[in-house]
Subunit: 345 residues, 4 copies
């Protein structure tokens, strides 16, 4: 049994980690910390966990996490980097669900996140936790940076096309849409239901922190660096991300061939599902499960390919992918504790 | 392994049955029928089932269901009564998720459902499938009438109070609210999102089919018959029922004592969860799971008790309860294949 | 032209007042104050007002509101009582959309609102601004307490029955449901869309501040005081309140007679609309307009009457009713600036 | 007073026309037809119109519409072309809110709409009713083809850039998102709230009928024809369209200059509102009003411009624009009867 700790268990990625880990057959949750809720039974804050989990939130300062095999940080950006060095030094593996270790270039990170990085020496070692790209390194990693939700959906959609050099990497468009749980569970006016219900908008068009993260990964498959425009939008629903990706084809190719390319690229991936060509994946197809569904289109047989990619932002876009990484890091079968059927309707 | 058939698998109770049965450790699904979708892979209609289920919808007329151990009817009212006699005669057990066998008095049934009953001789034998009341009879039953969604939430909330003769049975109010999936998955103007989104209303105030069903069961715990006013409402969400129940206390009793009564009544029930007194159960607490959460209140220490009861109308209010009944009828542990944590948020 | 000031214009009742007053033919808005947004153009915060309003939020401390004819307080509870005495002394009329002047008994107010009242001497003079009851007093008032949203829907629904002594005032149930805008526009976790979307719950069952307010008014039509149970619920939508009211009839009376009673009571009321008997008013019928729609039911011809009442909580439940009061206080036709058709769908 | 007829008044564009026309100071509604609802008072079907409109739906076959000055067709595609010739011959002006007269090339129309056009001789005469492009021709027109909802939002966003030859017309992307009311008010499974609530998807990616319509208009400002990829998406809300438009700039230009271009292009347009650069228009900003809000972005100062454009699909995208056209065709001030503040929240 893996001894697992969760730092910052009161947010949406925290409760989603708990939803999965409560029944993971190889996990024993040692501690769930929260400064604000220390002393509160977890199931009081999250009544869906009544009967599934007997834990009480503890103060991270009081908690001896070095007894854990692995620790998840489900905390705001800038928190994991405070404690990760000590945990690693004690032999604990670390998975950060926030952004502290996602960007390799410390100046880029500090620019986009607006703070000083406290352990830049760990950036090179940290592994970007997208198993479909980095499975082997994840297996050996001590420190995994769990990908952002948008990057997961966007990268998995562009990947086969870039790897096959099928598209013009100087003209990539990612128009992405997210449910509101992506903004987390903290008091704010802009995320009130009165503000975001029954309305739709783009946001951060001039620059979103997931843009450099996506570019960094896609650049690994492109030379020169990609020219990507990424526009996120807010959808009046709770869970789900849909990314509509546009690229120019570099050569004549049929939709069937493009589809085959995706099928082949992901044929052994347990958590990527390629739909038939011209399908329209709905976010509800993956609600509550660790899965990315993708479909390809070739409108008007023109020069453009359109890829549709959907995930549950809290699962394949956060907690589920983190557990997938944990399984890989721990030598467990990758799907352990991650099965289930999406909630439809 | 139980050989199971599902008649009418294209509705919301159908896909919910499939979501649970696809991974039930003791079930092998033999057939899922649909006249309209015969020949279509189930996972084409419901992409959440891709990779979980390999079945194709078949025409019920072509299907030999007598090879099943148990057959679920997830069909409109009036369908199960056409085929149940033949299946029962062939030794197949039947669970009807519609209303054909819920009402004992054939004239009452025919009045509320506006059609002639084709096998009234089965009404006496049929068992009302609310395990918290009828577990022993369900265990021996050939034919189970799975309760309506509203009745499940309302009956479980009133039951301890009526059994203990604590309330005036001549003044019961059940103000119930349901998500839209309760209306099923059939083309209709009134259930368009453009009609029911961002709005709230009562409906069928002058008489809803679940009223005689609730009364029939509550009358088993009351003499004379109860005087119940039942008002259903439509909530702009997909899953969930909340029932707010009002009754006059017949004697002085503290909230703590009322709470204890509920705790004791349901202490061995795996699918009823009594929250602390003065809690406010939210429908999301039980989204996607087979559970009824209940809390009791005693406002202003007056003569009135208020009971709050929530279920997922498609699970404890339909498919989950049907599988609970199947487990009981088949001698399996009642919770087999029915575990899981509710999807929150 | 009336010179009008609005204190606290950044909340939902504030922007709704501005939506109506921007085009009110007899109003000139002098000032809209906000401590936090002083200096910000109103239309920057609320882009629906672009082109309709040229005002900038000002600091209330800097603003000379005594030049106004009338001042609206769209502020949290406890704010209006700080400034109202000074304004009244300067000859300015005051309408408080919060609760400071709604309750006559200062001890009751202080108990429910958890603070000391700073001008209890004004409580007797203040008029409860429900025109359907207090039109004459409102016309002469200097200080109007605009009713709460729930009280408006509940009182208008019970009123004809109580006035006619048709119902048992010792057994009144008001099961009320509100959209989320009723909770206002302030940062909070419980009102995030991630928390309240796709879910339904009762809240404050053991005691809500609108309960003593409703009782105080209904007691004016009942002797002894009414015994009312009031349970509010939260609906995953933005605007709208629906109240389902239950009472026992004291004598035999047909539904047609009850309906006629309501028609007669409200025949000259411009903002109360009695639907045909057995109708089901939807909150969307009144979305964005100053109207209460009511329908009566008599289920199973029993001893109970059910009244359904819907309003837009921000209009007839707040800003619209405040302007209705302003019109009356100013000798304008009551409907001035308050016409319009509800937004459906 | 204009005598106005509405053919097909039971859909969402029908009720929206009625909402505006009921209080239009220069309009007298002569008839609202509906085959299915003939004899039903309009306000029974749409209770928001109670007290605002006394009309009864009539059978179009019985109705003498030649007495009207102007007739709106709020009917499915293929209906207006049946009756328009006769009305025009009788001197009645016609505005079709459906697609019958939008496409000039009859073969293109017949390909996309899958039926034979019955009066192709009218296609040349018909005027595409986008006043921001065709105001002068609309003023003289007998027959106006009211634009589609997506085309309105997309064309207004691209227009200034194409007119100024600022962008590469061979690489236009329009990623558009619509609320569910765009699909109309007809019984269908895919538009049930149970299907489209709490989910997001692209649809018709391989080809949507609004694609040739948009291209036809944009081609008027481009040589050779534009290469546009248009992808529509469905948002779980009722009203609103947001279009995110991507194009490559042909020359170096600052965001401020692009913004100025938009300001100048639309400075005299009453129903187009250019927000400050880098704004994020929300669909709720224009809910219920005849307005297109637009903002421009220049992410990472690269070669790409991003335009955000929002409308209410039922107002500027349908009924409001139709009334705008009626005003122009009738020599009325263009804004007559079309003022109002959007409903926010």
């Amino acid at each position: 049994m893996l001894k697992v700790g969760i730092i910052g268990g009161t947010g949406y990625t925290g409760v989603e980690l708990l939803r999965w880990l409560a029944h993971h057959p190889q996990v024993q949750i040692q501690a769930v910390t929260s400064r604000a809720e220390a002393g509160t039974p977890v199931a009081n804050l999250f009544p869906n966990l009544r009967g599934h989990l007997d834990l009480v939130f503890t103060d991270p300062a009081q908690e001896n996490l070095t007894a854990c095999d692995i620790v998840f940080f489900a905390t705001p950006n800038g928190t994991a980097m405070q404690s990760a060095p000590e945990l690693l030094a004690a032999g604990v593996k670390v998975i950060d669900l926030a952004a502290d270790f996602r960007i390799k270039a410390v100046d880029v990170w500090e620019h986009w996140y607006g703070m000083k990085h406290t352990c830049p020496e760990l950036l090179e070692e940290s592994v970007y936790g997208l198993p479909e790209i980095n499975r082997a390194q994840i297996a050996k990693a001590r420190l995994v940076a769990n990908p952002g939700c948008y990057p997961t959906a966007v990268i998995l959609g562009f990947l086969p096309l870039l790897e096959a050099h099928l598209i013009d990497d100087q003209y990539l468009i990612a128009d992405a849409k997210s449910g509101v749980s992506g903004a987390g569970r903290k008091a704010s006016v802009p995320m009130l239901m009165g503000e975001v219900g029954e309305s739709f908008k783009a946001y951060n068009v001039s620059g979103h922190r997931h843009w450099p993260e996506i570019c960094q990964i896609l650049n690994g498959f492109s030379k020169p660096p990609v020219d990507l425009t990424f526009v996120p939008h807010l959808v009046p629903m709770i869970r789900g991300i849909e990314a509509t990706l546009y690229a120019n084809l570099e050569r004549d190719i049929s939709l069937a061939e493009i589809h085959t390319l995706f099928i082949q690229r992901y044929q052994s991936e347990p958590f990527v599902d390629i739909l038939p060509p011209q399908s329209h994946p709905e976010t509800r197809n993956v609600r509550g499960v660790n899965l990315c569904q993708i479909a390809v289109h070739h409108p008007q047989q023109g020069k453009r390919v359109v890829v549709l990619s959907v995930i549950d932002n809290l699962v394949k876009g956060a907690a589920g992918q983190a557990i997938q990484n944990m399984n890989i890091m721990s030598g467990l079968p990758e799907t352990t504790g991650l099965t289930g059927v999406a909630l439809l309707p």
